[in-house]
Symmetry: C2
DNA sequence: TTACCTGCAAAGAGTTTGCAGGTAG
DNA sequence: CTACCTGCAAACTCTTTGCAGGTAA
């Protein structure tokens, strides 16, 4: 299959063996147009429900961390009990919908330029990210 | 003591009994000029080391959550394994020093106005917060 | 054949809870 | 006296780890 080959290649070039489990997770995460936001728990549920193949939770954790270390995923912290991953690995901003616990990407042109006027001597800025919390009107 | 009376009053008016433990924690958190950023673990260590009185970890958790629910503390998520609390409960921005794992408040005039140009129908914006990650030059 | 990977179960870390005894009002 | 609070230990959740068997190259 064309797509599988793509993922086999992707894994191989980054030094990860293209196992069945990793290819399955690749397809789920990267074979889509839009960016995908997920928690490990959500991902594990999708894997359990949507595929015949069962992947152990330990392998899901291992794979997600391997992908994160290779730069295929970005980790996002919203609150203490929700640790999200994002298939969009660029620096970008987010809406967090407090009513549904869902993340939505904000693109650069959705947010005006952010000016940080304070400088800490001896430190440099690594990233500037905005989190906009939203909720239902009522 | 004048300060203690202040905290007794503060606790009482919010429906919390002014126990010895709560007053001790109040003094540690709120009897200072600058805002204070802490994790439960850090707070517990300070309590263990700096006071003769021992407060059980469960009580520290209970108290911090009670204070948060009463609006005396704000919770801030930086990454999966660091859950911070902040004595500055207003909406504001932060530096996070990745070299030392420390938070620094950014005041409104330290950050230019942030314009969110995207609207999600039926949702309203609850907060807009910027996290600026910094690290040592090298 | 060798190094790497998976899956299980156990271990860890951080947090919460049930309950008995203690304290504020 | 009553409701609330504390401290302990156990329980829980999420994540990581050790190890035996399996798979890729």
């Amino acid at each position: 299959m064309n797509n599988n080959d793509q993922f086999v290649e992707k894994l191989r070039t980054s030094g990860l063996r293209p196992t069945k489990q990793r290819i399955t997770i690749c397809k789920l995460l990267f074979d889509r147009k839009d960016t995908f936001h997920f928690t490990i728990n959500k991902l594990n549920n999708i894997l359990k429900n949507s595929f015949n193949e069962r992947i152990s939770l330990a392998t899901v954790y291992n794979t997600i961390h391997a992908f994160k270390n290779k730069g295929y995923l970005k980790e996002i912290s919203i609150n203490s009990d929700k640790n999200y991953f994002d298939t969009n690995v660029t620096n970008h901003h987010h809406f967090f919908n407090e009513s549904t616990n869902e993340l939505i990407d904000l693109h650069d042109n959705d947010v005006g330029k952010i000016k940080i006027k304070k400088i800490i001597p001896g430190k440099k800025i690594k990233s500037v990210e905005v989190l906009v919390k939203i909720a239902n009107n009522n």
